[in-house]
């Protein structure tokens, strides 16, 4: 019984350490989020404007996506590992990066034939 209690306490201590560590790590990253530069992307007539966005490499940025259409659209990119639905006539924020220099295509899943774009990190 005592052994079980010791094992249980040890597990809780390990779990607590894990939680404290991850909370501290996230607290450190909050500063980076507040400092993140903002870029705006608009959706009109199932097209992205601008279709190309240049962002600084190795920097986290906020992508403010405004959907001017009446219908929803989904911003999607495997390269960016992002998938986010933006309802009609609404907006959202997508956090991107930090990215190494390169080109990262994205598309609108609901209108894939027209809604295409890319982020260029340089």
């Amino acid at each position: 019984m005592i052994k079980n209690k010791v094992i249980l306490q040890s597990r809780w201590v390990s779990t607590l350490r894990f939680c404290v560590f991850t909370v501290l790590m996230n607290a450190v990253s909050i500063g980076a989020v507040w400092a993140a530069p903002t870029f705006t992307l608009e959706i009109k007539n199932h097209l992205f404007y601008p279709a190309e966005i240049v962002i600084p490499a190795n920097t986290k940025v906020r992508l403010r996506v405004i959907n001017r259409d009446d219908t929803p659209e989904e911003f999607e990119s495997y390269e960016l590992n992002r998938e986010k639905v933006i309802l009609g006539n609404s907006q959202t924020v997508i956090f991107v990066g930090p990215l190494p220099p390169g080109e990262y295509p994205f598309f609108g899943e609901f209108n894939i034939s027209t809604a295409q774009g890319k982020i260029i990190a340089r």
Partner: protein
């Protein structure tokens, strides 16, 4: 997720005969916590149908050729909340397929993807056995961290089981996944499951196939190898998710 309690019960010799007579083989099969490693994300306007299969192989006949089937239907209510209802069935060599439990799942995305160094979510589950008075409520903290093409996911679960056919108790479980984002159609991963009666590790591959528009099919296949005597030698896992 059914949190194991069999080991503790078996250690109580006085109740052993009673337990053997009351607990059918299906419950033994459910004692494994090997199932799925959840990510913390919720996508708005998402609906899905899901099927999962777990198939155990073991030298112990009680755990050999035991299958668990899960059929789920889920939908998101916002960009933060996703719910899914599961019907869970078991099949053993001695018994035909039988619907054994119903489970409700609520996933809550806590942080925006990429907003902080890790992404966070919470999941709450309620499960009720059909033929026995066994209930379980659990909460799971979900953490995901990405390093370039590598993605690490941890699920920490605290569960409480109660009912007339079970000893009321708290249980904890951990499951984790390290996945490499090779391409959308093929992502290899290593999964770990750790709890009181489950210790397993093994390779898993998954992928997503687009079917046009919002429709896509996600699949996963792998095997978890038991590293202690209580866990089945191999637990094969397979799942299909149809999103629309």
């Amino acid at each position: 997720m059914k949190i194991p309690h069999i080991k503790r019960l078996l250690s109580r010799s006085k109740s052993y005969v009673l337990i053997v007579s009351l607990v059918p083989l299906q419950v033994l099969a459910d004692s494994s916590t090997i199932d799925k490693v959840y990510d913390p994300y919720v996508n708005q306007l998402e609906k899905e149908l899901e099927y999962r299969l777990l198939h155990q192989n073991d030298e112990d006949k009680a755990k050999d050729n035991v299958q668990t089937h899960k059929f789920g239907a889920g939908m998101s209510w916002s960009d933060r909340l996703f719910t899914e209802l599961y019907f869970i069935g078991d099949k053993t060599p001695d018994d035909d397929f039988d619907l054994s439990a119903i489970e409700a799942e609520f996933k809550w995305q806590l942080t925006e993807q990429g907003e902080y160094s890790s992404d966070w979510g919470l999941m709450f589950e309620l499960e009720a056995e059909r033929d026995q008075h066994i209930r379980e409520a659990s909460s799971t903290l979900i953490m995901l961290h990405q390093w370039s093409r590598w993605v690490g996911t941890a699920n920490l679960t605290l569960a409480y089981e109660w009912g007339n056919d079970i000893e009321n108790e708290f249980e904890t479980a951990f499951s984790g996944q390290l996945r490499y984002r090779y391409r959308a159609t093929l992502e290899p991963a290593l999964e770990v499951y750790w709890s009181d009666a489950t210790q397993g590790v093994g390779p898993v591959v998954s992928g997503t196939q687009r079917l046009g528009g919002r429709k896509q099919l996600m699949w996963e296949f792998g095997v978890i190898l038991g590293v202690d005597s209580e866990t089945a030698d191999q637990t094969w896992k397979f799942s299909l998710e149809y999103e629309f």
